[in-house]
Symmetry: C2
Subunit: 203 residues, 2 copies
């Protein structure tokens, strides 16, 4: 088993943190996305969409999509549960992980793709996409704050994959596109400090 | 238990088909999205993001996001399995469901939001977003065709939530934004005919 990854990128980081929370070690082979190694024919045979990370299994088959890889390890190593245990908790984790992805990660990706000088060379930017997506992200930070004022983690009292997705998205957006929760959002700040202090955050 | 829904819309249809495949009946209360009933304060208390469908449980709590609702019912009624059973199969279903969502559903949503006269009244359209997203969708249809030339369903030999997501997205895009797989993609055509012939497709 081997993980094709580029740990500094936000999606791979989700998987590395997930594995650290599980206490599972997987050999890593670096794929340099700045050199577009993930767009070469050999890599596209592993994942035709070209995204990373990709997990290679011992039978030579591949699993791509970060959450699909996480779910594979959740099935192999159920403890500690990061996708919930009861039907209600599984649904709450799925709901929050998707909310973070469909709003925050999507918005941050649009700002990055359409507004960063680093992506201008490889994609056709439409700068009008930047402002409305910054606003979507800021409104989502407010929803996160209201939610985290009443619970320890996004999906309840137990850390989950939704928190990992949110941490990686927020850290990426703060570092790369100057998009960060307003410091007045005290519950987000408390949650972010707690997530950042977990040993897995350095994975 | 009650499902707030608007069955003609693509995301609610995913849940209705899923429930039909499970043989589970849930009372439905219609929320008219064309009248923006899902943007009123009473509804935003159920789902602050305003999306439908939303499942109301008997304790008065709510689950939103279509796949979170589906997963709740998968946990309550494991048979027939629509999210896979073995770790490998669960990962394959998750991967394909996400590929369909992250490329095809996202691209169709961009074309719909930025290019349809029906959405022009309620969102600020950026028409430049239409052409590149049509192209993304067309490339994805080709990937689906290559995949379905070697297996019966997207994630293997068993129907899954990934097929339901793809069916609802394709039918929505064909009806509303004139975006459909080229008829020369024979494996997609065979799969689409088979999915459309299932009784659940009329749910």
């Amino acid at each position: 088993m081997k993980l094709y990854s580029f740990p500094r990128a936000p999606n791979p980081r989700r998987v590395h943190i997930f594995l650290a929370e599980k206490g599972v070690a997987v050999p890593v082979e670096t794929v340099d996305i700045f050199k577009r190694e993930n767009r070469q024919p050999g890599f596209l045979e592993k994942n035709p969409l070209g995204g990373i990370p990709v997990l290679e299994l011992d039978d030579g088959s591949h699993i791509s999509e970060s959450v699909a890889i996480c779910r594979y390890f959740e099935e192999l190593h159920p403890e500690p549960a990061l996708f919930g245990t009861s039907p209600r908790e599984c649904a709450e984790v799925e709901m929050w992980n998707r909310r973070v992805e469909l709003v925050l990660l999507n918005a941050a990706g649009m700002v990055w793709g359409h507004g960063s000088p680093l992506t201008a060379k490889v994609v056709k930017q439409i700068p009008e996409n930047v402002a409305p997506n910054r606003k979507r992200a800021e409104q989502f930070f407010e929803l996160m704050d209201r939610t985290l004022s009443g619970r320890t983690f996004l999906a309840g009292e137990r850390v989950s994959v939704a928190d990992i997705t949110a941490l990686c998205t927020i850290d990426f957006a703060a570092a790369m596109i100057e998009l960060a929760p307003d410091p007045s959002l005290a519950s987000v700040a408390r949650w972010h400090a707690a997530m950042s202090a977990r040993p897995s955050a350095r994975a």
